[in-house]
């Protein structure tokens, strides 16, 4: 277990293993998203209440799931970096944060577009959308803090502390926003929570969620590899690699 963690901590080892893993995740992402999209857009039955506008669910929900998971991933990477001083974890955290912000934006945007046919307005202080908006600000904070320090190591550690503080706060924020929403809008209807959803609607959603996760993993691996090359550019193995490459 410990040997494994320390091996994982070696940038070179991570660089090699991720090279082998990466194509699988790309293939899985492409396949799942393609099948899920076609199924969700063309084959899933229309919703009896919302008609075809419900098809936005197939991008909204996966993006929202991923946006929250990436923040948890950010905090886990931060913890690993702070406790075991594993640099790869911080590199992964550095590339995960912008993708998480992008996913949060997708969830917010698709939710707001979805609001037009369902609520008749572009923005509603719906509990989910409000939590997503706050999550977006948390992402901005982590990204901005990392960039604000002159030394990269300080920026990494400060962003790690903030990510861990943020992840403790996310459930509290979510709970309080839900509570606030039920207090102020008791009889309103939330777009994504419904009593029962037919199976034919669930399957494409599941595929899309898995596809988005694969995409996230593949992209994170790819960008972490670039980050490793950038930060380790003076190491012998990187220079050998560059020379061999041409």
């Amino acid at each position: 277990m410990w040997a494994f963690i320390h091996k994982l901590g070696s940038p070179k080892w991570f660089y090699d293993i991720s090279e082998r893993l990466q194509p699988w995740f790309w293939a899985a992402a492409a396949l799942l998203i393609l099948v899920g999209s076609v199924w969700g857009l063309a084959f899933a039955p229309a919703d009896y209440q919302q008609g075809n506008s419900f098809r936005i669910i197939y991008v909204h929900v996966p993006a929202a799931f991923l946006a929250q998971s990436i923040f948890v991933g950010l905090a886990v990477a931060a913890l690993v970096f702070m406790v075991w001083k594993i640099k790869v974890a911080d590199m992964a955290a550095a590339v995960m944060a912008p993708l998480g912000a992008a996913m949060t934006f997708i969830a917010l945007f698709s939710g707001s577009v979805w609001g037009v046919p369902t609520w008749g307005t572009w923005w509603m202080w719906d509990a989910r959308l409000t939590s997503m908006l706050i999550l977006l600000f948390l992402y901005f904070g982590v990204i901005a803090l990392r960039g604000a320090f002159a030394s990269r190591d300080s920026g990494s550690r400060a962003a790690s502390v903030l990510a861990m503080v943020g992840v403790i706060n996310i459930p509290i924020i979510k709970y309080s926003v839900d509570w606030w929403y039920t207090l102020h809008q008791p009889a309103s209807f939330t777009i994504t929570s419904r009593p029962s959803m037919p199976v034919e609607m669930w399957w494409p959603l599941l595929l899309m969620v898995l596809g988005f996760y694969s995409f996230f993993i593949a992209l994170t691996l790819m960008r972490t590899r670039s980050e490793i090359l950038r930060r380790e550019s003076n190491k012998r193995w990187v220079r050998d690699l560059v020379r061999e490459d041409g």
């Binding site: 063309a42 084959f43 991008v59 992209l219 670039s226 950038r230 560059v242 490459d245």
Partner: protein, 67 residues
């Protein structure tokens, strides 16, 4: 198949603007991040290669100076 024709599919039962905007923005952002990651990697490798070549040429020049 939930639609009878391509027209019906594109019209999305009157919800076309909303469904297609949401999907297109999502696709654009995901493809954009992919393209950005690829461009980042390519320019980084080009940079490293240039640096490596310069380091090597300087090294060989030093050797010439020494002899």
């Amino acid at each position: 198949m939930a639609f009878d024709s391509l027209q019906a599919f594109l019209a999305m039962g009157g919800h076309a603007p909303y469904v297609w905007t949401a999907w297109c923005v999502t696709a654009a952002l995901m493809l954009g991040s992919l393209v950005h990651a690829r461009a980042e990697r390519r320019s980084l490798l080009r940079d490293l290669k240039r640096r490596e070549r310069r380091a090597r040429s300087e090294l060989s020049r030093e050797e010439v100076d020494d002899t």
